[in-house]
């Protein structure tokens, strides 16, 4: 990476264009020191200059743009996003550090796993070589530096339990599976909880309210593994609607012309595409006036997206294979949605009951608005904010929840991999899993924070 052209483009041209553009827009940089630091970081990253990066030159590519924007006097949402990104990078460093110390403190590590192997012990030369390679005798700070350096270089080592595979490869394969499950279940349960919560709060005291609250509390407090066992027993064993567990049915994929992973990545992209269509629908609906037009817009985009997705899957010949994966996905998604919607529903119900008492709801009623408009546009819209907060807080529990769900359904995602790696004392893989689940949650927090900023005009950053 010492190509002078690249250095010129990244460290010279791009920032210069940025500064010129900013001045042209009337937003001159306030503090040129930050720009200089940013440039230096770019330079260090490109030339691998030893004193211009901390752990890894690659890490500079994340740091430099954030520091670059500290040179400008931003305001509002852009300032918030910049600060939040800086916080997240800091949190990431802290998180990786904490993970390192946890594994340092844990009894038994790969030294016991490998070096106690009689075959290695009998051969002192190999034994010493292995010790040197693993850095067993290094002091903790050297270990820490290596740990950080390797992490930010994205070199996580080789897994012991799945030997020849590199940890990055394993994570690249498993992360999408967790992401799919996590996205599908949280979006669906959020929508379900939001909608049900607002309905039962509006018709409070009725039979539906009592029933839904009861069911919600049951799902909220039920012992998760037990509930999942019941689901498996009911739907997979008794009714035989869904497969017991796993990711695919091997017999069906016997002579498949493509890998399951390729199909799955396309499935994940389809899910993201549907999500984007839905969000576009909401944004378009925000510009429309009547409730009917809004509803038509949202459903139009969602159904349009579904049709495009359907055509895509019908045309590319992977349809039947994708269906097999979806078939395996159904039960975990059902389990997660039923477990998570309850909390959202109860929170929504409670905040709705508070909001209904507010004066602006009386105003809306006195204005002569129809009941549904008051409920959806005035009450639910404001009650959405605390729900978002509880949703963000709940993100953290997704990590622990993921381990249980994925284990129960043998869904090979990050959670199950983490569990297996930990029990097998496969330290590199366990560290990789922990760190990347953490990254996932941090990013989800960022998205939720930005959403929150859009939803609540009272928030000023």
């Amino acid at each position: 990476m010492t190509n002078p052209v690249l250095i010129f483009v990244f460290a010279g041209l791009l920032p210069a264009v940025g500064v010129v553009y900013a001045i042209y827009k009337g937003k001159a940089p306030q503090n040129y020191i930050f720009l200089a630091i940013s440039l230096a970081l770019y330079y260090g990253a490109l030339t691998n200059f030893r004193y211009l990066y901390l752990f890894s030159p690659r890490f500079n590519y994340i740091l430099a743009p954030i520091i670059y924007f500290y040179g400008f006097n931003l305001s509002g949402l852009s300032k918030f996003i910049r600060n939040r990104l800086a916080q997240i990078v800091l949190l990431l460093v802290i998180y990786v550090t904490v993970v390192f110390f946890i594994f340092l403190a844990m009894p038994g590590d790969y030294t016991t796993k490998f070096l106690q192997d009689p075959k290695i012990r009998q051969n002192p030369e190999v034994y010493e070589r292995m010790k040197q390679l693993f850095g067993v005798d290094d002091p903790w700070y050297v270990k820490y530096y290596k740990h950080m350096k390797n992490f930010f270089n994205l070199e996580l080592g080789i897994s012991f339990s799945e030997y020849p595979k590199r940890v990055e490869e394993i994570i690249a394969e498993r992360l999408p599976r967790t992401l799919f499950l996590f996205l599908a279940s949280s979006v669906l349960s959020f929508l379900l909880g939001f909608d049900l919560g607002k309905r039962i709060a509006w018709k409070r005291g009725g039979l539906t309210d009592k029933m839904a609250t009861f069911v919600g509390i049951v799902f909220w407090t039920i012992f998760t593994p037990f509930y999942m066992l019941i689901l498996i027993w009911l739907f997979a064993v008794t009714l035989r609607l869904f497969p017991l567990s796993g990711f695919i049915t091997p017999t069906k994929w016997f002579d498949a012309p493509f890998s399951a992973q390729a199909v799955f990545i396309r499935l994940l992209l389809t899910e993201l595409f549907m999500l984007v269509m839905w969000i576009i629908g909401i944004v378009v609906a925000g510009r429309l006036k009547t409730i009917r037009a809004k509803r038509t817009a949202i459903w139009g985009f969602v159904i349009g997206g579904a049709i495009i997705a359907f055509v895509y899957w019908a045309a590319n010949g992977m349809g039947t294979y994708a269906l097999d994966i979806v078939h395996h996905l159904a039960l975990p998604v059902i389990a997660l949605v039923t477990l998570h919607f309850a909390g959202d529903m109860l929170v929504m119900r409670d905040t709705m009951l508070e909001v209904i008492k507010e004066d602006y709801i009386t105003t809306a009623r006195a204005k002569g608005l129809p009941d549904k408009v008051i409920r959806d546009k005035h009450a639910a819209r404001t009650a959405l904010l605390p729900l978002m907060t509880s949703f963000v807080i709940g993100l953290a529990s997704t990590v622990s929840g993921g381990v249980i769900t994925e284990t129960m359904f043998s869904w090979k995602g990050m959670g199950l991999t983490l569990l297996e790696a930990t029990t097998a004392q496969d330290t590199p893989l366990a560290i990789g899993c922990l760190v990347f689940t953490g990254v996932l949650v941090l990013l989800a927090h960022l998205v939720a924070d930005i959403l929150y900023a859009f939803l609540d005009p009272r928030i000023r950053y």
Partner: protein, 335 residues
């Protein structure tokens, strides 16, 4: 004969609680013509706000309508608002009767722009209005209440208290209502802003020839803006007359004591009266006249029989067995 814009007959609304019915509005009658204003004055908890909510039918769930009529003049046709189904009632809200709310601070939805909330009211009642036209109208209303029309694009939290109050007034004018109920429109504001807003309200009311109902516990506020004053005590009107009569020649003991219970800024020093006791519990109001337990003039009949609310002079309504005469009033003041 002048047809009133709104005519309320023997209106009754009780709140149902575990202890029984709270008789918050118990047989209230009045009528208002276009351009006229009525002030309803009374202690806290006497049911003033409940009256306004009953007129608009924006009552909480435990409120029970117990009888009476609210006749609303819909272009010459008298409609009984109490008998309308909810769906039709919707069309009379804001277009017929609108309201300036007691708690203007929280009367606007925090997540929508103020201008949009007013536009929403217009579009709701006149769905065919183009949005630009509705916005132009809101801009005009903002100018009427001396707010900068640029503020339409701001959210309620960017407004000061007085500005919010003005915005709420602009909101109440959005659909050219025939009757506006101003429920403690200025309680949350300091005296200077209060005065300004009251003047504006009065000016707008005369300009647009609307009927107006002011509700307040503050007699000074009521006296400043209303043509007629009704005194409310424990869910009932005890006396109603034009403002001067109420101040100069009150006939109900409660009105008399109330009028002389606060010091005047002008004129000679005068005796201040206190009303002994406390307002009755509306769950179980006293038999007979509800003011009897606190009334210095009460006798056995007062405690047994409830006096009728009748017109004693032209435009002067009263519910009392022993109306105060000029002599009694002078004697009391001289004591």
């Amino acid at each position: 004969m002048i047809v009133p814009v709104i005519k309320v007959e023997n209106l009754k609304m009780y709140y149902k609680t575990k202890m029984g019915y709270v008789q918050a509005v118990d047989g209230i009658s009045f009528e208002l013509e276009a351009g006229e204003s009525l002030g309803i004055v009374g202690e806290s908890g006497c049911g003033k706000t409940s009256v306004s909510m009953t007129l608009l039918r924006t009552l909480p769930e435990n409120a029970h309508f117990m009888g009476g009529h609210v006749w609303f003049n819909d272009n010459g046709k008298m409609v009984d608002l109490t008998q309308l189904p909810e769906d039709e009632m919707r069309h009379y809200r804001w277009r017929g009767i609108s309201m300036v709310f007691q708690a203007a601070m929280n009367s606007l939805n925090p997540v929508y722009k103020v201008g949009d909330q007013i536009v929403e009211a217009i579009l709701n009642h006149y769905p065919d209005t183009p949005i630009d036209q509705a916005k132009a109208k809101v801009a005009k209303l903002f100018e009427l209440v001396t707010l900068d029309p640029k503020r339409m694009e701001q959210y309620p939290h960017q407004y000061s208290g007085g500005m919010k109050q003005r915005a709420v007034i602009a909101l109440s004018l959005a659909c050219d209502p025939k009757v506006i109920i101003a429920d403690e429109p200025t309680t949350a504001l300091d005296v200077i802003v209060q005065d300004k807003i009251l003047r504006e309200l009065k000016k707008i009311q005369k300009e647009l020839n609307m009927a107006m109902i002011y509700i307040s516990h503050d007699i000074a506020v009521i006296a400043e803006v209303s043509d007629k004053i009704a005194v409310m005590y424990a869910g009932k009107f005890v006396e109603e007359a034009d403002s001067t009569t109420i101040f100069k020649r009150p006939m109900h003991p409660y009105t008399f004591l109330l009028m002389n219970a606060f010091p005047s800024h002008v004129g000679p020093k005068k005796k201040l009266f206190t009303i002994p006791g406390e307002p009755p519990n509306l769950l179980n109001p006293p038999k007979g006249c509800r003011f009897a337990p606190r009334c210095p003039w009460a006798d056995n009949r007062c405690r047994e029989q409830d006096p009728e609310y009748v017109e004693v002079e032209k435009g002067h309504y009263l519910a009392c067995w022993h109306p105060l005469t000029e002599e009694v009033r002078q004697n009391e003041l001289r004591k």
